[in-house]
């Protein structure tokens, strides 16, 4: 925040929202009677209020106000047409923006959003296809190396996510490890970086564990007698998987999809490093709007749109699997 643009009434509004939230909390706790036990919940509640609820209120506030602090929907209109302000200026000066070739450029933000959703979808689908068999093998009681593989999946997560992504650079670069090896074998170099595939690779690499672990959990918790019962009733291994193991692991799948899809949609940094600016995802757009363009109002509007989309997709998942663990995230 470069300067305090929040007018007095805005602070009042925030205070009111916060007070309402606290009041609701108190009522809920009173009603549940567990007064003594609920005391322990207060530090977490305070934490949530300060670092989650308050920022959310702020984002909502910024999204619906202009730089002067008065109510507006302009930020959302700007989302659909990113050059709106400039075009309005041109129209005022008597020019025709379309004639100047500015007609199509307005959809840049929407394009980024669709691209982000598409990339997140691909990332989730690839993670599922790769992750499910991995989780299945790890959860197999007969497979002695299962625990080792679980640890191998966890170890990379001890390293910082930025470092892990940058590490891919040194592999994929034009003069990186892979291309050096190819050259050594007398093969032509490949252009591995600065494209969507590289970004996708980075995303799958980073988010795959979040798909594997929920599925692994639900598979390893599954009673082995259930698949025995299926085989007892005449189902061979494949039928047993299709009719019993897979459907019962559905909550784990939904949870995995949620855990991969959410961060995928808001991915930033990976596209910048591995996509080299040729590809921009919604997370980068939000970051750029806040930090480079220094436009907190439009940035907040973008964040809000993102949030609504994520909530919608979670709601959809919940419809698919009402009992699932993923549904409980909303």
């Amino acid at each position: 925040m470069t300067d305090m643009r929040v007018p007095a009434w805005g602070w009042w509004l925030m205070g009111l929202g916060l007070a309402g939230f606290v009041a609701m909390l108190v009522i809920t706790i009173r009603r549940n009677r567990g007064v003594r036990r609920s005391l322990y919940a207060w530090p977490y509640t305070l934490w949530m209020v300060v670092f989650t609820v308050l920022p959310l209120i702020l984002i909502a506030y910024y999204a619906f106000t202009d730089k002067a602090g008065s109510f507006t929907l302009e930020n959302f209109a700007n989302f659909w047409d990113s050059n709106r302000a400039m075009k309005n200026d041109l129209v005022r000066q008597g020019f025709d923006p379309v004639a100047l070739g500015m007609g199509a450029r307005g959809t840049v933000n929407v394009g980024t959003l669709v691209y982000s959703l598409w990339m997140a979808f691909l990332c989730t689908a690839i993670s599922l296809v790769l992750g499910y068999p991995a989780a299945h093998i790890m959860a197999d009681r007969e497979f002695k190396l299962g625990a080792t593989i679980v640890v191998l999946f966890i170890i990379p997560m001890w390293m910082n996510f930025l470092l892990r992504t940058i590490a891919w650079m040194s592999l994929l670069e034009d003069n990186g490890l892979i291309n050096t090896l190819l050259q050594g074998m007398g093969l032509p170099k490949l252009r591995l970086m600065y494209n969507s595939q590289a970004v996708l690779l980075g995303m799958v690499y980073n988010y795959l564990p979040f798909m594997v672990f929920p599925i692994y959990n639900s598979l390893s918790r599954q009673d082995p007698r259930l698949s025995e019962a299926a085989m007892d009733l005449g189902a061979n291994k494949w039928t047993t998987f299709l009719r019993v193991t897979f459907p019962i692991s559905m909550p784990g799948i939904v949870s995995g999809i949620t855990m991969v899809f959410m961060p995928s949609v808001t991915t930033f940094f990976i596209p910048r490093v591995l996509g080299g600016g040729n590809t921009e995802m919604f997370g980068d757009l939000i970051e750029r709007t806040f930090l480079t363009a220094d436009d907190w109002n439009v940035g907040s509007a973008l964040s809000l749109i993102m949030m609504v989309l994520i909530l919608l997709s979670l709601g959809l998942l919940r419809k698919v699997d009402p009992e699932g663990e993923g549904g409980s995230l909303i």
Binding site: D223, R225, L226, E228, A229, A230, M231, D232, L233, G234, A235, N236, T239, R243, V244, P247, I248, M250
Partner: protein
């Protein structure tokens, strides 16, 4: 019953897990339409034996023969056998109807045949109205009946039951024991039943297989096992018993508690050490003057039908069941008829375990 052909035979079946021996040299046959019970404490190998018959375990050595064919390595889904699992293992994602229909759906039977057979089976287990219910919404007894229906609807030649009644309360268990026995007789299916409950085994079975530490201790009809246990272990496991070390004086005369008793057993070497079994209900309380041994009543418990008295006599603490009560501290005589004295070869380990 005895005329029925042998359906399943286990030949010298042994099983090891990572060097731990679970089953040693099991030889066993099951006749058609027989109700056979594998009885023993937990860890005796009874469930492993059942799982080998079901195809969930492959024996380390030995053969499983079904109707003349070696099925030792046949996977479970190719065996004409269905199982009622411990804790039922019902499919949580399917409703009652689909659970019962599972086997026929896998076998791709026509839809109308499935519907009518499932409904008939649900009627049989008194769950006609429950087809659409989720399995989790059912009580333990209802879930158990779904498990039985799910297995029986496939008309298996043999039904395997792995402690199916263990999770039920006493009253429900008694009811289900009768119901299972009735079903078995009506449907003419061979039942192989696993339990650690000796009373359950005695009420339901045609044949009981008593197992101990991976070996078969004794096979026979319930009455025979109760009356003629081969060892102190079997005697202790089935029914209540007084087991006392004794010595064969000669044929039909045994000495224990410093007294000679006439019995009906013979063929032991002279002065051979033996285990003497006398059931609590066979120990008769008589007048002090006519008793074969004399002792003092230590405690009295009312058990409903009878009194259970603990009586110190002849250096041994006897458990005696009688419908007439003797007050605590009173002196009584004890007597036993020759026919009710059962002589067994001593089992060193069995005694050491007691």
């Amino acid at each position: 019953m005895q005329e029925q052909p042998r359906l399943i035979t286990l030949e010298n079946v042994s099983k090891e897990y990572d060097g731990t021996v679970v089953l040693t040299d099991i030889n066993l046959y099951v006749r058609k339409n027989e109700f056979l019970t594998l009885l023993g404490p937990s860890g005796c190998g009874k469930t492993t034996t059942l799982r080998i018959i079901g195809g969930f375990e492959v024996p380390t050595s030995g053969k499983v023969i079904f109707g003349g064919k070696d099925i030792t390595n046949l996977p479970p889904y190719k065996r004409p056998v269905n199982t009622v699992f411990q804790k039922y293992a019902l499919f949580p994602h399917l409703n009652v109807f689909d659970n019962v229909a599972f086997g026929m759906n896998v076998a791709k039977r026509p839809k109308d045949e499935i519907a009518s057979r499932v409904q008939k089976m649900l009627d049989l287990v008194n769950l006609s109205e429950y087809g659409k219910r989720r399995v989790e919404s059912l009580s333990g007894g209802q879930q158990q009946r779904v498990a039985i229906a799910r297995a029986l609807v496939n008309e298996p030649e043999v039904l395997l039951l792995d402690e199916p009644l263990a999770a039920l309360d006493l009253k429900l268990r008694k009811g289900m024991q009768l119901e299972l026995k009735r079903m078995q007789q009506r449907l003419g299916i061979t039942f192989i039943f696993v339990t650690h409950d000796q009373e359950e085994a005695l009420t339901m079975s045609d044949t009981i297989v008593v197992m101990r530490e991976g070996r078969i201790e004794q096979i026979g009809p319930p009455k025979h096992i109760y009356d003629e246990p081969r060892s102190a272990y079997v005697a202790n496991f089935i029914g209540e018993s007084n087991i006392i070390r004794g010595r064969m004086v000669r044929d039909e005369l045994v000495n224990f508690c410093g007294t000679n008793f006439t019995c009906v057993d013979f063929g032991f070497p002279k002065d051979a050490p033996v285990d003497v079994l006398i059931r609590p209900e066979d120990m008769l309380i008589v007048g002090e003057d006519v008793g074969q041994i004399v002792g003092t009543v230590k405690s009295v418990l009312f058990k409903g039908v009878h009194y259970e008295m603990i009586i110190d006599a002849g250096g041994f603490t006897w458990k005696v069941h009688s419908t007439s009560m003797q007050p605590e501290g009173s002196r009584v005589g004890l007597s036993v008829v020759p026919f009710n004295i059962h002589i067994m070869r001593p089992m060193e380990e069995a005694v050491a375990n007691d």
